[in-house]
């Protein structure tokens, strides 16, 4: 396995500098310490060049890790802060306030919980610290050209050959694939008819022979995602997480309640975005228009409810140890909100809303137009809105599964 070889960054696997013991520290002191650190170490504005931006983000993630400020919910032995939930909430609040860069790739949010819960001790040691430090960028290999919402129909195969798997097939819509060092993928080890019972969770070196990444141009004109082809790619069998054919239930693991804390971060971000839009309407003299006001009220209600929902979920977790019903709705609310706020912004701007960022007359470097285009993906990626509504209907409300479809 070549992963270790690609993590030569100094201090990558070293234990982070110990932060003051959390137990003795009050919540206010903890908040003040975070705020001071984020302020003192803030990396400033992101570089425009995409390559430079990756390096800039990696440098920030390394700074967090090296000083013991990375992975609020992660176990300490892998470089995390292992904070109790209440402090994870404070961490997210301060993170949102500081406006520092988020993680690179999808490893931290999606792969890490699976590794933490189901990885072997050796896998955890090998993969988790470099992921958290940003030394290695992880990207997800789930969707395929013929397996989108119907993910259990995926066709990329992994054939066992001695102590290796040989992987063949194609993944698609892989975000951050061009920057990725590692793919965490779902591959077929059983028959196609076995569906989710024949799927294995495999970690694949993105630089291994036979791996080819072809950037896809998305509708914004950018290259955030890619197709990934595997042609006789040899993967050590000890890169398998969980059992052979036992990968499916692992794919949607979440770590404790860290998503609930993360929702608060998003709520804070969109609060800020809406205030900026209201300021723009005010500057342009459009706040007196009752139709503009009515649309803004609608967004005000929604952005506040997103925060209230996050707070209620957190309150339930703190008081009762489990997230209540509000937790299952937050993503659906946020994705619809981010689409609607950007579309309303360009509606409000009129023809000026249509100008791209290089046009001299563009408003705010065309951020609203770009957001309008970019957020088309919000209700598609990580499960379409339609599939998520089905999930709420079946798993929360208990409505019956469609008998014409294969069992869940």
């Amino acid at each position: 396995m070549t992963l270790e070889r690609q993590a030569p960054v100094a201090g990558a696997a070293a234990a982070p500098a110990a932060a003051p013991a959390a137990a003795a520290e009050t919540e206010d002191a903890f908040r003040a310490r975070l705020r001071a650190f984020f302020t003192a170490r803030h990396p400033g504005r992101p570089p425009k060049d995409p390559r430079e931006r990756v390096a800039w983000t990696k440098a920030w993630l390394a700074t967090l890790f090296d000083h013991g400020y990375a992975g609020p919910g992660w176990p300490a032995e892998f470089g995390g802060m292992e904070l109790p939930f209440g402090r994870q909430v404070i961490y997210q609040e301060e993170l949102a306030r500081a406006r520092v860069p988020g993680p690179l790739g999808t490893g931290l949010n999606i792969a890490a919980p699976t590794i933490i819960k189901y990885g072997s001790p050796e896998q955890k040691r090998r993969w988790l610290p470099p992921m958290l430090r940003g030394d290695l960028v992880w990207a997800q290999g789930y969707s395929e050209p013929e397996a989108g919402s119907d993910l259990p129909s995926l066709r990329t195969t992994a054939r066992r050959d001695g102590d290796e798997y040989v992987v063949n097939g194609q993944k698609v819509w892989t975000s951050h694939a061009a920057d990725a060092d590692v793919f965490f993928a779902l591959v077929r080890t059983g028959t196609r008819e076995s569906r989710q019972k024949g799927i294995t969770y495999l970690v694949i070196d993105a630089h291994a022979p036979g791996v080819q990444v072809r950037p896809l141009r998305d509708l914004t004109g950018g290259h955030l995602f890619a197709e990934v082809f595997f042609d006789e790619v040899r993967v050590p069998a000890d890169n398998r997480i969980g059992a052979e054919n036992g990968g499916w239930p692992l794919a949607r693991t979440s770590l404790g309640h860290e998503r609930a804390a993360g929702a608060l971060n998003q709520a804070a971000m969109y609060r800020r975005v809406l205030t900026e839009l209201e300021d723009l309407a005010r500057e342009r003299g459009q706040l007196a228009d009752p139709l503009v006001r009515d649309r803004l009220v609608d967004l005000e209600i929604r952005v506040r409810i997103i925060r209230y929902n996050a707070q209620r979920t957190i309150g339930d977790i703190l008081a009762k140890g489990e997230a209540g019903a509000a937790s299952s709705v937050s993503r659906l609310l946020i994705t619809a909100f981010e689409q609607d706020i950007h579309e309303f912004a360009i509606d409000m701007l009129g023809p000026a809303g249509l100008l791209g960022k290089t046009a001299p007359q563009a408003v705010q470097r065309s951020r609203w137009l770009l957001g309008f285009l970019r957020t088309r993906a919000s209700t598609i990626g990580a499960g379409t809105r339609e599939i998520q509504l089905n999930t709420v209907a079946e798993q929360v409300l208990g409505l019956p599964h469609d008998p014409g479809l294969p069992p869940r």
Binding site: V297, R304, A319
Partner: protein
Amino acid sequence: MSVGYSQEHDELREVVREFLRQRSPSPQVRRLIEAELGRDDEVWAMLTGQLGLSGIAVPAQYGGAGYGPVELGIVLEEMGRALLVAPYFSTVVLAGQALAASGDEAAMARWLPGIADGSLTAALAVAEDSGSWDLADVTAAAEPAGDGWTVSGGKLYVVDGHTADLLLVVARTAGGHGVFAVAGDDPGVERARLDALDLTRPLASVTLRDARAVRVGGGRDTAAWLSEVTDRVLAALAAEQLGGAARCLELSVEYAKVREQFGRPIGSFQAIKHKCAILFLEVESGRSAVSQATAAIAADEPDASLAAALAYVHCSAAFTHAAKECIQIHGGIGYTWEHDAHLYLRRAKSSELFLGPPARQRARLAALAGI
């Protein structure tokens, strides 16, 4: 961040829900509707006496339990689920909250104990022909007479106004607006139930001709007082709407699980699933908004007015939407008189318009949000 209910709150909810399940099931609601009764005396006596629900938000020194908007919200939510027919919203929420915020010790000592023990029903009369709750639109007038006052004018849309023992009437005076207490059976009062949409919550017209009155809360600025009362009323009404919306969703889901067409439950069709899931999003959003609003009022937080208005605007739309979808998901049976769906639609639309057109409520919210 005091959002979230305690175990005691959960227990209160359970007690009220169980009581209403036994004492205000659908056939009972329908009996009261058909008989054009505003309440069942036995149920009212238990609810106010044994359960003490009418005193829940009345301060302890006036015979109440001394709880606040959070507990009142829980009770209202359960009453909204059950479509309870009783003068609770008028007596406890509208008049009771107005009295409790009046700062008028004599008035509170005189009437709050009766509200707390259920022996007194009361109504708050603000709106007139225009339906507006703005003081600027009030034309009823009060004049000093002897050591009291007389009030004249026409009030409309007065919840339980035709039966209330006590009427709290907003009127103009030579020195600004005031609130005046008038006995429901005063010879200067003429009142009648209005033919209106909501069959479970009667509205009345109240005409006053030199009705004898006592001024209430004369020490307070009436606009500031009524604004505070409005926040509490909106939060309570939003809680009631939330309960109604949640019940409409439950009825829809229960039906979609058992009603079969094309050889399968209609709830297995994506079109029905999505309707229900979207209602669930709206109900859960409403639950977050209501708990935020009631907690903000209880803690006297600076954004309490905004939180209350937000909860009301959201829950108004959510309840009406849920009631309409409930009818749609039930199909033909949902359009019948026998099915309860229309009772919820009637309550939903009525409470949505209670304080005026929805657009005006949204404009008010915009102003509160600083837009």
